[in-house]
Amino acid sequence: MILAISGVVALLLVVDLVRDRAAQDAHYIGAGVLQLAVLAQLVAGCVALGRTDRDVEGTVFVSYLVTVAVVPVVGAFFSLAERSRVGTTILLLAVATVAGLETRLWDIWTARG
């Protein structure tokens, strides 16, 4: 779910990066949707951790959940400070980071990581 949102936002960003534009409102809305999704994930993840009897490393799992919830908003602030191609790149990096962290989260949840 979150991977899909990251994918869509990343695609939007790449298009505008190629067109050499600063990050647009649509991107920030996309990042906002992503932010809501990772916040929901933070809550859902903690609840799921409390209920599961899987062999999940709790501390690591929660720290990843928190990190992934912080990345989009920090990325958005950084990119707002640089209204150029650079800002678009930063937002893209942030979205890519979220995607990367999501795969790690999945590894930890399935206890392979």
Binding site: D20, A22, T59, V60, S63, T67, V71, V74, G75, F78, A81, E82, R83, S84, R85, V86, T89, I90, L93, A94, T97, G100
Partner: protein
Amino acid sequence: MAEPTTSSAPDRPLAEGWGRALVFVYGIFAVAATGRSAVQLGDDAGKVPYWLSLLAAVIYLGATTCLLVGGRTGWRVAAAAVSVELVGVLAVGTWSYLDDGLFHDKTVWSHFGQGYGFLPLVLPFAGLAWLRATRPSRRP
């Protein structure tokens, strides 16, 4: 995007333009490496690679801070940190391929940062290129 550049200022801020993107990535790696080394050292403080993770974390933190602080000293320390980082990722990367046993547990730098999309390998080059472009002695 035509925007007024600050290149005529005596010391070009290190954390503007592409520097800001660099600070963002270095910041992420600082957090990632710190978290990883904390967890690993908490598990078992007796393994060399775990201490290398901590070293990587300190270097990323240092580089991030210096880029943000800027100025002549900031530039120098950042250059030193990024150079150590480059040597570190090359040395640990090569070492981990030669002796897989020691680096069974992944660190940020083992296998040239494979677990991080090889970004740790690319990052020091980007950092050095940026520092070269913002060298304090340069008066454009």
